[in-house]
């Protein structure tokens, strides 16, 4: 028998933490989107203005932030699908915990190769490569 938690199935468990993470990733992605539309708008200024700003996206630090952004969007997407399944699938509420660990697994499976392809250029530049 698990110890009786203080009268709640929700607080401190998977459901609460996915809710917290959904909010944080949502806000972060929204603010990036505002910046991203501004940087893309530079194509109406001049090719060199656009290329200069895009060059900052290719630096090592921003490259790491890029992995964070893709990870945030991917989590938000997977958890959003889980929320829709909880709402509309007849077994959704019963399986919500299993679905949480499923999306964590899918996130990892996609992020490992994703991060590899996003970071490979920076890693080769920083630490040298014979190719």
């Amino acid at each position: 028998m698990p110890k009786a938690s203080v009268g709640t199935l929700y607080r401190g468990h998977e459901g609460m933490w996915t809710w917290v993470a959904h909010r944080i990733t949502g806000v972060a992605v929204f603010f990036f989107l505002l910046v991203h539309v501004l940087d893309t708008a530079l194509v109406r200024v001049s090719p060199s203005a656009y290329d200069a700003v895009i060059a900052t996206y290719k630096t090592p630090i921003v490259n790491l932030m890029e992995v964070g952004l893709v990870g945030a969007v991917l989590f938000h997407a997977l958890n959003g699908i889980r929320i829709i399944l909880v709402d509309f699938w007849s077994k959704g509420t019963r399986l919500q915990r299993q679905m949480t660990w499923t999306i964590v697994a899918i996130w990892l499976v996609l992020m490992v190769p994703g991060a590899y392809f996003m970071l490979i250029h920076t890693v080769e530049n920083l630490f040298g490569s014979t190719s």
Partner: protein
């Protein structure tokens, strides 16, 4: 045995506000599903395949926006993501800001940023000129 009668509601629903929050709830789910495809596709192409961000420059953008398919993709993505995100932030503002004044000004700032960004992005997609000097 009949079910106990319920009292009539004390306040009638004010007319005009027809289930705004329900449609907002529906919109989040419908736009969310469409955005899963649009945004994950966008990230896969732009950030992961074929060198990712390293290969992006003005010429790359010009090549993509020469096709109506990617113009429509980006336009739809812009509108849905901005409205989906703004509606999410509206929920968060409602949750955490307690004073009416604070809530009003945060929402005013959110609306301004959202309208500006959608307008700017739309303008850029429709007026893009690959031969700009």
């Amino acid at each position: 045995m009949s079910a106990p009668a319920l009292n009539a509601p004390k306040t009638a629903r004010s007319g005009g506000r027809t289930n705004y929050e329900m449609w907002s709830w529906v919109f989040m789910r419908v736009s969310g599903i469409v955005l899963v495809f649009l945004v994950l596709g966008h990230l896969l192409i732009m950030n992961i395949l074929d060198g990712g961000v390293q290969r992006i420059n003005f010429a790359f953008v010009a090549g993509r926006w020469s096709s109506p398919f990617w113009q429509v993709w980006d336009l739809l993505q812009l509108w849905l993501a901005m409205i989906h995100g703004a509606n999410g932030l509206r929920t968060i503002i409602n949750d955490y800001s307690e004073r009416d004044q604070t809530r009003f000004w945060l929402k005013a700032a959110l609306l301004t940023a959202t309208v500006f960004t959608i307008a700017l992005g739309t303008l850029v997609i429709f007026t893009f000129d690959p031969n700009i000097s």
